[in-house]
Amino acid sequence: MPSLFLFGASEGGLFDFDATLPLMAVQVVLLTFILNALFFKPVGRVVEEREDYVNTSRAEAKKKIAEVELLEAELKEQLKEARLAAQKVILEAEQDSENLYKEALSLATAEANSSREKARLEIDSQRDDALNQLKSEADNLGNLIVERLLAKK
């Protein structure tokens, strides 16, 4: 019966050490060198190249972001300045137009006043004239009436 020789068998057994051991060791050492040449070196090169690439790309991107942020800040500053300038211009224009309006208004008022005054004076003088004329005509009429009355008698 050939099975279950576990220990101490002269032929076979679980703990049967022989030349398998050193040969297996040599085989594994050889495999280490083969895998180093075929697997670890080339794959490592590719992976590390990619890591370098990713790192440099990331650094570049970071640099670019910093540049962009700087530019953005600069532009914002410029924008702020431009806005302030525009506000100033608008304010000035508003003031100017207000001044012009006030000036024109006062000019117009003065003119209106003066022409009104002139008109009043004219009216006054004409009224005086008319009154004088009326008075003289009434006098004349009175005289005439008196003369006629006197003449009838």
Binding site: G12, D16, D18, A19, T20
Partner: protein
């Protein structure tokens, strides 16, 4: 198994039997080398296919290889340390990959379909010779790593932090390979035996979860072996202050 009244073709249990090859006056276990060559061949084929055309945008097998490479690098880096992990990464990685394909190959490939005159095909790591060979390589590696990195100052490690540690550290040099080899050997052999016995007793359904458990154990054992090997090397090159 001639002593049982009926025999399932997949359930034959031949523990401790080997297919001997005679080379000069050396005898080796043929079944171990046959499976290991097949599995190493498959591993190398995968590696060759995956590295044939490598791009910055990984495609297909390259993804798998890069994942493995990354995994092994992390393992080696955390255990050995930033300074020398590059030197030992191929060794740690080879241990991991070889043990992993051996364990999984032993569990997944239906070797029992192939009849051998004696013994049976299975995981190469279920043979004590393989695991002891691997463990002794680890021992040599950490001695070499310590001596090449620190010269004779490596032996300060034995009296660190106090000389009282000396006997324990010396014993450790023997227990390290012993525990490494027997842990791997025991786990893989036990897994094969459990599956074989279950298949023999209940040929349907029941062995399947145990087989999955076996796959899990196999992967874990590969990881444990590689991690411990890296840890021992890391311990040897570590600078004490």
């Amino acid at each position: 198994m001639g002593f049982l009244p009926f025999v399932f073709p997949f359930a034959e249990l031949e523990v401790g039997q080997h297919l001997y090859w005679q080379i000069g006056n050396l005898r080796i276990h043929g079944q171990v080398f046959m499976t290991s060559w097949l599995l190493i061949g498959a591993l190398l084929a995968l590696v060759v296919i995956g590295t044939k055309k490598m791009d910055r945008d990984p495609k297909g097998v390259q993804n798998l290889l890069e994942f493995l490479w990354d995994y092994i690098r992390d393992l080696a880096r955390t255990q050995i340390g930033e300074k020398v992990y590059r030197d030992w990464m191929p060794f740690i990685g080879t241990l991991f990959l070889f043990i992993f394909v051996s364990n999984w190959g032993g569990a997944l490939v239906p070797w029992k379909l192939i009849e051998l005159p004696s013994g049976e095909l299975g995981a190469p790591t279920a043979d004590i010779n393989t695991t002891v060979a691997l463990a002794l390589l680890v021992s040599l590696s950490y001695f070499y790593a310590g001596l090449s990195n620190k010269g004779l100052r490596y032996f300060e490690y034995y009296v660190h932090p106090t000389p009282i540690m000396l006997p324990f550290k010396i014993v450790e040099d023997f227990t390290k390979p012993l525990s490494l080899s027997f842990r791997l050997f025991g786990n893989i052999l036990a897994d094969e035996l459990v599956v074989a016995v279950l298949v023999f007793l209940v040929p349907l359904v029941l062995p399947v979860p145990v087989m999955f458990l076996g796959l899990f154990t196999s992967a874990i054992q590969a990881l444990i072996f590689a991690t411990l090997a890296a840890y021992y090397i890391g311990e040897a090159v570590e600078e004490h202050h």
